[in-house]
């Protein structure tokens, strides 16, 4: 894309040249609303100059992430928190990596927010190297934090968000935005991200204090301590405490504090290195610090590891496929939960190591892992027979492999097959799912090949289903749609969440069926349906007392006035109504 204007201005003072540029390319991201390869509501829309600002609204040309608000966390499929007594949940929910043509020392990052602003919580920068063909040839990466702040309450105005940045030590060409959108009323939408910076280090921006802090924060393998003999004997009052109590106190520490406490004395080290302190390990909040040394250092402490999250970790060469494999070889035997969302380093070899060394695995998250894993890479997973929760969102898995995995995982409770484009026939996949008697949630977001045949199969099995996402299943249509939908809700009466986003055939007849058969319904999305009218929605709101969320955006047969009346009549329900401006 040669259309990014970069303006170069040379101030008269001795300061170095300032360059302003828009992102050239989106290299990596965690989730998106649109479909990969398309240009509507996809994260790659963030590249290039601003095209929407100062308009405000729900635009196809914007960058939109997959979720917002509390609704996904309130649904049955919500992932439980893991980690050490997670008191301070990590704020990041999504990220996007933006590549810029010119390497600069960032002085300003201007984020054009054009719908529900306030989601950006962190801005990181680093430098990556690409060869002539555009391939990334990094073998390590140093992330530097430019800004971090609390999520902001959304104002309904477009804005250019430009927080004050920390000065940094080296030039960057990659910016990562970390966003948190749980507090927002609707999807946040971003238009463009402009990076302003100087070409040369102006010499004054070496923030020694900050650099030092970055260093102390890094998780490293702890060398053996050289403690003097006298100190080693006397631990003061701590000697009087029973070991279990110290253990309990330390279990309240965050991971980084635990690592910092270890060098204090031998007693502390003993407790901080105790394998029982490392039963659950969530490294996602430290994705920018995790490297091969981290895994090496943690391996000996993680012999009893049961739950591990490496989500977002290891990008741009900070983790090698070998170091991950050797960590799993050493610590995988007891693993029950493994989260590897957006881990771009994963290779087919890693998948076979996981499959063979983690026999107890019950939960596996491979969402947005696309780079090196194609169809056959997932084949080894068929040996895992204890899976209850599997997330394959946006992967490139094929129909045969998915079917084999489902066949061998009779205990499946939560399955996410959202935005998978490599499955030829979702009907065949769903037909296999009928044997999963315990299935509670099923995500078929953008399952383009799913037809009413598949919907029919679901109503035969899967009677315990509490949640289903059929958003953008565009082949769910035809004259038979309504009858198969009605028989579906008749047999899956425990549904709490039902998403029918842009399933254009949904009509009032289907609304009546929902009202009649789904007494536990809490969340309903019928965005973009043409013939759903206020009557139909009102019937649901009346007969489903647990309703909390209802998205009626772009339902053209309802007027804005009718929505206002509905909102007033059902104040407990969040009724969504998005809009586009021209």
């Amino acid at each position: 894309m040669g259309c990014c204007p970069s303006r170069i201005c040379r101030p008269k003072t001795k300061m170095s040249t300032t360059v302003s540029q828009f992102a050239k390319e989106v290299l990596h991201f965690s989730s998106q609303y649109g479909t990969d390869g398309n240009v509507s509501y996809v994260v790659p829309n963030l590249a290039g100059p601003s095209t929407i600002y100062p308009s405000y609204g729900d635009m196809t040309a914007a960058c939109v992430f997959r979720t917002y608000g509390p609704w996904w966390e309130l649904a049955p499929s919500s992932q439980p928190e893991i980690g050490r007594n997670a008191k301070k949940p990590y704020l990041g929910q999504d990220f996007v990596d933006l590549w810029y043509a010119e390497k600069v020392y960032p002085t300003e990052v201007r984020i054009y927010e054009t719908y529900h602003p306030g989601a950006v919580v962190q801005i990181f920068a680093c430098e990556i190297h690409r060869d002539q063909a555009g391939q990334i040839v990094n073998n390590n990466v140093r992330w530097q934090l430019l800004w971090s702040g609390r999520p902001q309450v959304s104002l309904s105005d477009p804005r250019i968000f430009s927080p004050p940045l920390r000065k940094v030590r080296f030039a960057s060409n990659l910016i990562r935005l970390v966003v948190h959108h749980q507090h927002l009323r609707y999807y946040t939408e971003l238009d463009a991200v402009e990076l302003v910076g100087t070409l040369q280090d102006d010499g004054t921006d070496l923030d020694a204090v900050y650099a030092l802090r970055m260093q102390t924060l890094s998780i490293r393998s702890q060398d053996d301590l050289n403690v003097s003999p006298s100190m080693a004997i006397d631990n003061g009052c701590f000697d009087m405490l029973p070991g279990e109590l110290i253990q309990l106190i330390f279990s309240d520490l965050e991971l980084l504090d635990l690592c910092r406490a270890a060098p204090t004395c031998k007693l502390f080290k003993k407790h901080c290195y105790d394998k029982l302190q490392f039963v659950e390990l969530d490294l996602q909040p430290y994705w920018h610090k995790v490297n091969e040394n981290t895994l090496d250092g943690l391996a000996e402490r993680c012999q009893h590891l049961q739950k591990l999250s490496l989500a977002w970790c290891g990008d741009w060469g900070s983790l090698s496929t070998e170091s991950f494999s050797s960590f799993i070889l050493e610590c995988g035997a007891e693993l029950r939960c493994l989260r590897l969302s957006a881990c771009a380093f994963l290779t087919p070899n890693n998948i076979s190591v996981i499959a063979s060394k983690c026999p107890k695995l019950e939960e596996l998250d491979l969402s947005s892992v696309r780079v090196k894993l194609d169809s056959d890479a997932f084949n080894p997973l068929t040996t895992l027979s204890n899976l209850t929760r599997l997330n394959l969102y946006r992967t490139r898995i094929t129909e045969t492999v998915v079917i084999n995995i489902i066949r061998n995982s009779p205990k499946l409770e939560h399955l996410n097959l959202g935005a998978i484009q490599t499955i030829q026939s979702f009907d065949n996949v769903v037909a296999e799912l009928v044997k999963c008697k315990y299935l509670l949630s099923l995500n078929l977001w953008r399952a383009r090949s799913l037809t009413i045949t598949g919907l029919g199969a679901l109503s035969e099995g899967c009677k315990n289903l509490q949640e289903i996402d059929l958003g953008w299943c565009v082949q769910l249509r035809g004259t038979q749609f309504s009858s198969s939908f009605v028989s579906f809700v008749q047999s899956c009466r425990k549904l709490r969440k039902l998403f029918l986003t842009a399933v254009r055939s949904v009509s009032n007849n289907d609304m009546n069926a929902i009202a009649a058969y789904l007494p536990d319904l809490e969340q309903l999305d019928v965005l973009g349906t043409l013939s759903v009218s206020t009557d139909g929605v009102q019937r649901i709101l009346e007969s489903c007392p647990k309703m909390r969320f209802c998205d009626l955006s772009f339902c053209n047969s309802m007027s804005d006035m009718e929505i206002i009346v509905l909102r007033a009549a059902y104040p407990k329900v969040t009724i969504q109504r998005s809009f586009v401006t021209s």
Binding site: M1, G2, C3, G34, T35, N38, V39, S40, Y41, G48, D58, T60, A61, W472, V474, R477, T479, F481, A502, R504, S505, S507, L527, G528, T529, L530, S531, S553, F554, N556, S578, V580, S582
Partner: protein
Amino acid sequence: MQSVLVYGRHFARCVMGYIPYDASASVDLPGRRSARRQMQLVTASCGFSKDSAANNNRPGQVFKKDIFGDDACFVAKYKNYDVLGVADGVGGWRDYGIDPSQFPSQLMKTCERLVKLGHFNAQSPVAIIATSYKELLENKTPCIGSSTACIIVIDNESKTLHSANLGDSGFLIVRGGKVVHRSEEQQHYFNTPFQLSIAPPGLNTILSDSPESASSSSVPIKVGDIVLMATDGLFDNMPESLILKEIGKIKDQTISSIQSAVNAIAERAREFAYDPNYMSPFAEHARANGMEFLGGKPDDITVLISAVCYAQDIDS
């Protein structure tokens, strides 16, 4: 008073032409100037909505850029490629309470975006139509309607014009006062062109052709050529000989002379459209199909004219 208003409107529409893609948009860096002179396009457009003459006060009729009644068009540039497109919405949707201009304008807007993003293959304008159509299906807003579509991509490097045409819009390449290439019209039967459609669920009788059924061609193009692109509102009302006559009046390749030619053609076509005693090309076709018909065919008219010329040397 009414007529003054009408005229004011027409004037407003006519001046909404395109600024020519001046040299600064495609400059060669000094010192790296290629020996061959670059080709570039100067494009102007003009159009009339059917309603602006017949029923000026139709409520909800707002002026939008690149939209003439139920017609829509776009002009975009990406690197060495100039891309032009027109689309003609099927008016019948008005009976269903649906604005027929929405579909073609969204279609053209999406094509324009795809071009500006570089999301296209210059050799395959059919794919631009197909991709744009798929993007319409991805839109949260249900975009109901039908439209014809014609897209040309001019590769200034290889000096080739690639085209895709679905339906009865079309284009002509005029060289030395003669038509050297014209697009193929695609009709199911008389006055029923091929069309792209998105129908609301339950409506199964809507005519809908696949984007891939568009006819495509690739022809060489030279500096000095004139490319005229228009919806059927022009071709149904104005015989080719008259179009050529107007094009012959273009004296140089400046935006102002292109603009005045395009204005003249569009205005002539509009006059014919409302002349009940004129034997229009449409009337001739109707007669050939056994229908007694005389006069022009009131329709939305959109005309784009591009002159192929050398990029100006900015150094000189």
